[in-house]
Every structure is written in structure tokens, then in C-alpha cells.
Amino acid sequence: MSDQDVAPVPERDLGEISSPHHHETVAPGVPVRDVTDGGPEMVQFLDADGKRVSRGNCEPYEPILEGLDPETMRSLYRDLVLVRRVDAEGHALQRQGELGLWPSLLGQEAAQVGAGRAMSTQDYAFPGYREHGVAWCKGVPPLNLLGMFRGVNHGGWDSNANNFHLYTIVIGNQMLHATGYAMGVQRDGAVGTGDPSRDTAVMAFTGDGGTAQGDYNEALVFASVAHAPVVFFVQNNQWAISEPNERQFRVPPYQRAKGFGFPGVRVDGNDVLAVYAVTKHALDEARSGQGPTLIEAFTYRMGAHTTSDDPTKYRVSAEVDLWREKDPIKRMRSHLEREGIADPAFFDGIDAEADALAAEIRTGCQNMPDPELPTMFDKVYAEQHPVIDRERAELIAYHAGFEEGN
């Protein structure tokens, strides 16, 4: 069958839905992508040059922005830099054979730091596998994240120590966990009490590809029906491995929320201030009993999907170059400089801090011990289990046999 057999795809009036992607066609062979413009609704407070602007549907968030003191501004910048450094170190450790895999967040620092910093201590995060920046903001030691990529565990940290759940690899699963957790929060009476140390929200992270999954959409259903205090945070980094947005949806993810009965907001994911403000607003609403929000952070995956991926197979470097212009760190730095919030000494200090952090991660990773063999049986069940006991004993006996020179 030839391409000509395929019917053309004319545009149809979809009412008030705007389509910032300009999907002029999804016909085979004719992908027309314009992903560099977030559309008129996208909330933005810092433009690509770091100039303070008020773009998109930004009114509700201005007050939050105005509440930010210089100290906080600087610390947001610090987090952006440190998070990028953690990521670069993860990448380097993979290249050196210390890790089996690394999914880089390069380009998504603002989306993650903005979201992570907007969370209160008691708020709970349910990440995918790329949320190193959110982890950092929640206080998770970066070394915790390396274990699974080194192959010494499947995560294995105590999620409750920092209210940051284990990484979830099966796309979509964690959206429902977050929703259920938020239903638990409701049952604990930790919503709408007005006590800022008690009221709790939950955040669920996924990517643009994740929005296609049944679990994701069921999470929207359950959250909406339960009016649960959960914020769905979609990092639309334009790619799901090799598949562009056009393979996952025809209108941007933030527009889907309304059809499930709660608000959706698109925010410039490379603008840490905008992400912070939008997320904070959504979390405040969730905590006070106003129900869920869906946030789409419009950003870009600057690197490969993971260290196993080769993006030259499916995307052109010109696209990456365009997005480099929108770099989230450069932008925030310009802003701080322009507004006189930070001086060169500050920036040098952060860079030095980043170097030290990187060195610490490197040493920590290299010294990470391999787990003892029989421990692979230890936590399969919470309670005693005869098959586990037998197999553990057999394995120990088998190895003892070798040592005896059997």
C-alpha cells in the first residue's frame, strides 16, 4: 500500500481549543513540528533572555512570584546548577562503567526545581525515573538515586524519609499511586484544615509519552471523582524516546484536564519562576481542598533518552540548537544579574559547591558496595515464606559447596 492511499487529514473546528503545536498534519512522512512556541496560554515570567515578563494566563500566579525574596531567588538558581551537576555526574559515571544506565534531565532543571521547591515538606512526590531534580529539592541524597542504575538495588531508599517515592519505571503506574495516596491524605483529615504544617498535597510526575497510558487517564478519573489533593505534573520534553509529541496527542496535555473536570495549566518548563509559582498555586489549592490540577511544563530533553539511546537516529540537531537558546540556567542567571540579586562571587561559590558535590557523588558511587548475595531473598515478603527460606538455604549451601572445592 502506498502513502497516497491514506486519506488527507483536514483541520476541523474544535471550538475553543487552541493547538499551539500547529499539527498541520499527522499524515505519514509529513511531520510538521513547531515545538519551540508554547502557545498563547503558556505561563511565562522569564523570557529566554531572563527578562521578567508576564505572558500567558499568568494573573493567578503573580502574587506568588512577588512573594519571592532575593534569598529564595538565589537558592533556586543554586538548585538549578547543583541539579545539573548531579545529572552530569550520573552521566559521566555511566560512561565510565560505574552505572549501567543514566537518564539525563538536561534541559529540564527548571521544570523539576520549580516543582520540587514549590512542595512543602509534608507533600509527597511520586516520580518517574528522571526526577533527579525533584529528588534533590526534597532532600534525597543523590547517591540514593544511583543504586538502581548501578544494579545494586531497585531503588531501595526509604521513601518516607523525604516523602519522595521510589522511581517508577513502568510508565503511568505512579500516577495512580499518587492519587491513592492523596485519597489516604483525605481520609487522614489532612486537607483543608488550614493548618499549613498539616495540610498535605501529592505530586505525580510523568512525561509527554506517559499521557497516552491508561493508568494516567484513570488517575485523572479517580482524582477528579475523589477531588483528591493531587497535582499531576507532566514534563513535556517533546520526546518519548524517539517519538515526538505528534505520536501521543493532537492537543497539548494541559488541555486534557478540563475534560476530566479540573484545571490544566501550561507553563514554560524552562522558566523556574513560572514553574515554581504555578506549582505552588496548584499545591495550595490541593491542600486547601480544591482538588486536583494538571500542570504541563513545556520543556525539552536536551540529551539522549538515556545513555543507551542514540537521538541522531530520529531528530535533527537544529532542533536541539533552538532549545539551547532557552536554557533554564542561563536564563535565571541573566535575571539575577540583571536585577542585581547576585554578584560574581555568588556564582563562583555555587560552581565550587557543584564541583565538591560532584566529587562526593563520584567517590560515593565508586565505593558503593555490592550487596551480599543471600540478601536478594530478604525482602521479597514482609512475612516468613517457606519457598524463600528454602531457596536462600540452597543458594548458601551451593556456594559453600564450591568453597569446599566441590
Binding site: L176, H177, M183
Partner: protein, 329 residues
């Protein structure tokens, strides 16, 4: 509840009620379990007494039910999920396999997801497609889960409570065609459960052949043993109760005694529970067997239209045919 006649359904209902009274963290979730009390009325009256927050009528989406149950468990709740019919558990398969079964080990024990997944299973009620499946083997093959099945009102009452108390996720298979069968039950709450959740029970002692069954087929095997006795054959009947882990001590002791074993279940035999039991017995009891371990089960076809089900399901005749074959060696 001393010495009363109870159906299996009422045993479950009473067990659920007891568990909810004991632990405020126990919540029930499922489709139509509230006002309706579930399509089998297992949760009847519970929403009225414990409120809509503890007996949750969920949206019609099984992945959603299981996925939110995981979240509730992570927040400290103990969800008891009702799957409306066996055939509707598959949309939730991913959550069960990828999350429920693995959360504890993935977290190196930091996280627990204690939950019970109740599955009314099996055929014999004249239902349409997808309402008569026996899919326990999928879950028994899955490390990280426990799989049990009750066969009588007393076990229903106790096992559901034990499953809820267990810190691991438990698949709880309920023989739907036995829901309304009544038995005299002597329940002494003070004394507690008469046996562990994972212990098999020798329901009838015998010397010639061992019948191993669980759930709906236990009654069938007891009837077969009764019929065989009339012909002078002494059958031992084991109610497995737990499919994962298996109580192999009880099973092999019986196999070594009788030397002949027939495993009976409704599920298709190919990779059904009988396969695992046969594989274990032939290994552990190699020198004691007078005959190979035989399997009497559903045929290896999708569950057929109900006009066929009497022939599809193992019945007294087919069980006795299996016994004959075992004795012919």
C-alpha cells in the same frame, strides 16, 4: 457466632466486618460494593455501618482500583479490593505484577503494601463469558504475592481476616458457586483462627489415593471420596487452602502414605496448579509413588459457554475416573 448455620458469603461478610472493627485502617474498594453490597452481596451492610470513606464505590476501572489501592497502602491503609468477577482482573494485571508484588522488595522492606485482592472465581453458575475463570495460576507464578482460596464458611471467616492482617499482598480466591452453601460453623473469636493461612488441611483421611483440591473443587472431591468409600476405596482429601506458598509437608506426607495422587482444579491443566504440585511431588516423593501424579482439570480451551460447563468442569465422575487411572498403575 457459636454453632450457627452460615453461608460462605456470610462468613466473608462477617470476617470483613470483624477486620474493619478491629483496624480503622482497613478500607474496602470495588465496583458496586456500597449500597448494592457487591454483586454477590459480600459487602452487604458494610457501607451503611462504616461509611462511604471506608467502603468505596470506585470508578469502573480495575487498574485504577489497584493503583489507588497501592497509594492508600503506602499511606498506611489496608485496602481490601473486590474484583467483581475473575475475568475482570486483567486490566489490573500490570499494577498487581509490576507494583503490588514488587513494592516491598524494591524498597528493601521500607515500604509495605498490605492488601487483599478478593476474586470470586470459577464456574458452575451458568454465567456468560468472562464470569467463570480460574486464573489463580498467573498469580501463583508471581513472586511477591501470596495466593489463597477458601472452600467453606469457617475458612471464609478466618482466612479473610488472616489475609487482611498479613503484611504482604494476598490474592484471595472465593469459590463463587459455593457462596450460598451453608455449613454449621462454630466460631470462637477468643480462641482465634484454628489454623494458619498457609496450612493445608486433610479433610478426610484415606489410604488408597490422595485427592488434592482447593476452592470449589474441595466439595466435589469430598463427594467423590464418599462415593469411592461405598465401593471400598479409601481416598484422602486435602484442601490446599494456600496455593502460594504451598504446604508441601502436608502434601508430600499424604503422597508418601498413599503413593497415588490426583490433583483437581477447574483451571486448564496446562500450567495450572496441578503442574506445580505434580512436579514437586514426583521429585520429593520419587521412590514412594505407585503411579504418576495425575491431573483432573478444566480442558485447555477458554471457558466454554455455560451449556458446556458441566462437562468442562471436573465433576464427581471425572474425579473418580482419575482415581481409577491412578489405581490402574
Amino acid at each position: 457466632m457459636a454453632g450457627q448455620k452460615l453461608t460462605l458469603a456470610k462468613g466473608l461478610n462477617a470476617g470483613l466486618r470483624a477486620a474493619m472493627e478491629k483496624d480503622a485502617k482497613v478500607v474496602l474498594m470495588g465496583e458496586d460494593i456500597g449500597k448494592l453490597g457487591g454483586v454477590f452481596r459480600i459487602t452487604e451492610g458494610l457501607q451503611k455501618d462504616f461509611g462511604e470513606e471506608r467502603v468505596i464505590d470506585t470508578p469502573l476501572a480495575e487498574a485504577g482500583i489497584l493503583g489507588t489501592a497501592v497509594g492508600l497502602a503506602l499511606r498506611g491503609y489496608r485496602p481490601v479490593v473486590e474484583i467483581q468477577f475473575d475475568g475482570f482482573i486483567y486490566p489490573a494485571f500490570d499494577q498487581i505484577i509490576s507494583q503490588v508484588s514488587k513494592m516491598h522488595s524494591r524498597s528493601l522492606g521500607y515500604l509495605k503494601v498490605p492488601m487483599v485482592i478478593r476474586v470470586p472465581f470459577g464456574g458452575g453458575i451458568g454465567a456468560v463469558e468472562h464470569h467463570s475463570e480460574s486464573n489463580e495460576a498467573y498469580f501463583a507464578h508471581t513472586a511477591g504475592l501470596r495466593v489463597v482460596s477458601c472452600s467453606n464458611p469457617e475458612d471464609a471467616y478466618w482466612m479473610i481476616q488472616q489475609a487482611i492482617e498479613c503484611d504482604d499482598p494476598v490474592m484471595f480466591y472465593e469459590p463463587k458457586r459455593r457462596y450460598h452453601e451453608r455449613a454449621e460453623v462454630e466460631i470462637d473469636d477468643a480462641a482465634g483462627a484454628p489454623r494458619g493461612l498457609h496450612e493445608a488441611q486433610v479433610l478426610r483421611e484415606g489410604t488408597d489415593v490422595t485427592l488434592i483440591a482447593y476452592g470449589p473443587m474441595v466439595k466435589t472431591c469430598m463427594e467423590a471420596a464418599g462415593a469411592a468409600a461405598d465401593e471400598g476405596r479409601s481416598l484422602e482429601v486435602i484442601d490446599l487452602r494456600s496455593l502460594s506458598p504451598l504446604d508441601l509437608d502436608t502434601v508430600t506426607a499424604s503422597a508418601e502414605k498413599t503413593g497415588r495422587v490426583v490433583v483437581v482444579h477447574e483451571a486448564s491443566t496446562f500450567l495450572g496448579m496441578g503442574a506445580e504440585i505434580a512436579a514437586e511431588i514426583q521429585q520429593k516423593c520419587f521412590y514412594h509413588l505407585e503411579a504418576p501424579v495425575l491431573r483432573v482439570g478444566g480442558y485447555n480451551i477458554p471457558y466454554p459457554p455455560s451449556r458446556f460447563e458441566e462437562e468442562f468442569l471436573p465433576n464427581l465422575d471425572r474425579v473418580l475416573d482419575g482415581v481409577d487411572k491412578a489405581l490402574a498403575y
